[in-house]
């Protein structure tokens, strides 16, 4: 305890823990120089399979504030705060947004029972809609101000600036998507993270039939996917996490589509990647989607 106080005396900044990289970026934008953000699930890492390491527990134990997304996204958080004996506040950033349910995949195929819906009923991927991040920002501003009243003015100012750039992003995105008639706003992706995004920008995200897990696909699944792409006449196809890249090449060749690049769903990229911040991530994803939709 003494050591921790000594450390915080030398470094007057508030130690704050954010559960995953996107949230960490948002918190850092609001807190500015008054806080130090530690992110548990780092860039390019998958929050679904996160394994807490001793370092993570340590940073939670030292934290004055923990920020989580909520909606069942961080199922492991309770264990971490318990191990760290953390007694401080836990801010649920998504508090107050319009929660969407997880989409049940509604197509008529029977090959789908193997799916693993580990989040429960709510869809946690609310950050894919920038309008939700406005609410995230307000929640985080409030929590930081409560913890550190001296910095309240700064948090408010930073928060307002961030909200302004969120609104600008949103306007830009709406404008961009408006170029396409709704019928062309169709994308096949193996990600299940774009429900909020799709609802906000009226883009239909279709799950690739069958082929969505990392296990070995069957001929039926591959055939189903090719038929789906042909039938829906969709050229915007984003599938990455399939077991064999060779198989992916064959599918795109046979269905006559060019596969889109990576979409960042649950994590930022590394600093030298295309999506090192939330705002850049959204612009990058939208750019990728638009480029593929042009082919539809």
């Amino acid at each position: 305890m003494l050591a921790v106080q000594g450390a915080s005396a030398a470094d007057a900044r508030l130690p704050v823990v954010a559960s995953f990289s996107i949230l960490g970026d948002i918190v850092a934008n609001i807190g500015g120089d008054r806080i130090v953000v530690t992110t548990l699930v780092g860039p390019d890492q998958d929050a679904h399979v996160f394994q807490p390491a001793p370092d993570h527990i340590k940073s939670v134990a030292r934290a004055r504030l923990v920020v989580v997304n909520g909606l069942g996204f961080e199922g492991w958080m309770e264990r971490v705060t318990q191990s760290a004996n953390y007694r401080g506040d836990i801010v649920v950033a998504s508090q107050g947004i319009a929660v969407r349910d997880r989409v049940e995949e509604e197509h008529d195929h029977d090959s789908h029972d193997g799916h693993d819906h580990h989040h429960g009923k709510n869809d946690p991927h609310a950050w894919q809609n920038p309008a939700n991040i406005v609410i995230y920002t307000q929640n985080i501003v409030a929590a930081l101000s409560k913890l550190d009243p001296a910095g309240a003015a700064l948090y408010r100012k930073n928060g307002d600036a961030y909200i302004a750039s969120l609104n600008e992003l949103d306007r830009w995105a709406i404008q961009q998507f408006a170029q396409f008639p709704p019928a062309k706003r169709k994308v096949i992706t193996s990600h299940d993270a774009f429900e909020y995004f799709g609802a906000h920008y009226q883009v239909r995200f279709l799950a690739p039939q069958g082929v969505s897990t990392e296990s070995e696909p069957s001929a039926k699944e591959v055939a189903g996917l090719i038929r789906q792409i042909r039938k829906e006449k969709i050229r915007a196809v984003f599938i990455e996490n399939m077991s064999s890249p060779k198989l992916l090449q064959q599918i795109s060749k046979e269905a006559g589509v060019t596969l889109g690049g990576k979409l960042y769903a649950d994590a930022l990229s590394q600093a030298d990647g295309p999506a090192p911040t939330y705002l850049k991530l959204m612009r990058y994803n939208i750019g990728q989607l638009l480029a593929q939709m042009k082919l539809n």
Binding site: E216, P217, S218, A219, A223, S244, L247, Q250, K253
Partner: protein
């Protein structure tokens, strides 16, 4: 007429509609033609487990090919082939110059090779991903892979025909050719090279599980059906081809992963052979001793 149409719809239409089904079938058939007979020769020489061992031995070569040349089929295949050949040669050399038998030295060398391969791979990304990337999937066979399999298959069948007499004599009496000028090592080495070549080709196109399975399962069950080697060789190739076709159909209609289900089909044929083949269980029970000299 209706029946014919139904049959066409069921058995042929999937291959007409989808190129990936055609490629998978052609690759499997080509491999059946060369791998399964090689498997028969392996069992004949009591080397049934060599295939399994060699399939692991190619890993460091594949890994080296990937590290230096990236994802190029020729580099991966040549790397794997060289690693397999080196392991075979090393094991052969050890068995000639020490007390160890060939299978013992192979068992030692291939494990080391496998370990080296795992180390090399783990230096580049996660192990699991790379294993998936480095080895193919029967549904993802591309033109390059098809050419590789066809080439290897043709070469193997031709070479096997050329080596047939020598291999046969040697198989039934290892000391025969040894006494006749020490050519046994040449036959043995050439033969094992063919095995490695086939394993590498099927690794690259069909995936890890398929390689050994398609080589050994039809081979051991073919041996239950016939007394003569030519008949066994033909039977093994037919069984492998049937397993390939049946497996693809099952994968298409019942939605199960293709590679494993092809092997399970081969396993099914093996099980049936165990029971019903002339040298299997049932005829043995039914057969009265005096009916057969």
């Amino acid at each position: 007429m209706m029946l014919l149409h139904d049959f066409y719809q069921f058995a042929i239409a999937p291959f007409q509609e989808f190129a990936f089904m055609r490629r998978a079938l052609v690759a499997t058939l080509a491999l059946a033609l060369s791998s399964a007979p090689l498997g028969v020769m392996l069992t004949l020489r009591r080397m049934s487990l060599f295939g399994e061992a060699l399939s692991h031995a190619v890993l460091p070569g594949v890994a080296a090919g990937f590290i230096f040349f990236g994802l190029s089929l020729p580099a991966l295949s040549i790397g794997g082939f060289l690693a397999g050949v080196i392991v075979v040669a090393l094991a052969g050399w050890i068995s000639r110059h020490t007390e160890l038998k060939e299978d013992a030295s192979l068992a030692a060398v291939y494990v080391v090779a496998l370990a080296l391969g795992v180390i090399m791979i783990s230096g580049h990304g996660t192990q699991l991903d790379l294993l998936h990337i480095l080895f193919g999937n029967v549904l993802g066979v591309d033109t390059e892979g098809l050419l590789l399999v066809a080439g290897v298959s043709s070469l193997s069948v031709l070479l096997m025909a050329g080596l047939y007499r020598g291999l046969l004599l040697e198989s039934f009496d290892p000391s025969f050719l040894a006494a006749g000028g020490g050519r046994n090592t040449v036959y043995q080495q050439l033969f094992l090279m063919l095995v490695v070549l086939n394993l590498v080709a099927s690794f690259q196109t069909l995936g890890t599980l398929m390689a050994v399975g398609l080589m050994m399962l039809p081979a051991v069950s073919a041996r239950l059906w016939h007394d003569t080697l030519p008949a066994q060789l033909a039977n093994s190739a037919v069984q492998a081809a049937l397993a390939g076709y049946a497996g693809l159909m099952l994968s298409y209609y019942a939605s199960v992963p293709s590679g494993p289900v092809i092997i399970v089909c081969a396993g099914g044929f093996y099980f049936l052979s165990l029971i019903f083949a002339p040298r299997g269980w049932l005829p043995r029970i039914l057969r009265r001793p005096h009916l057969r000299a």
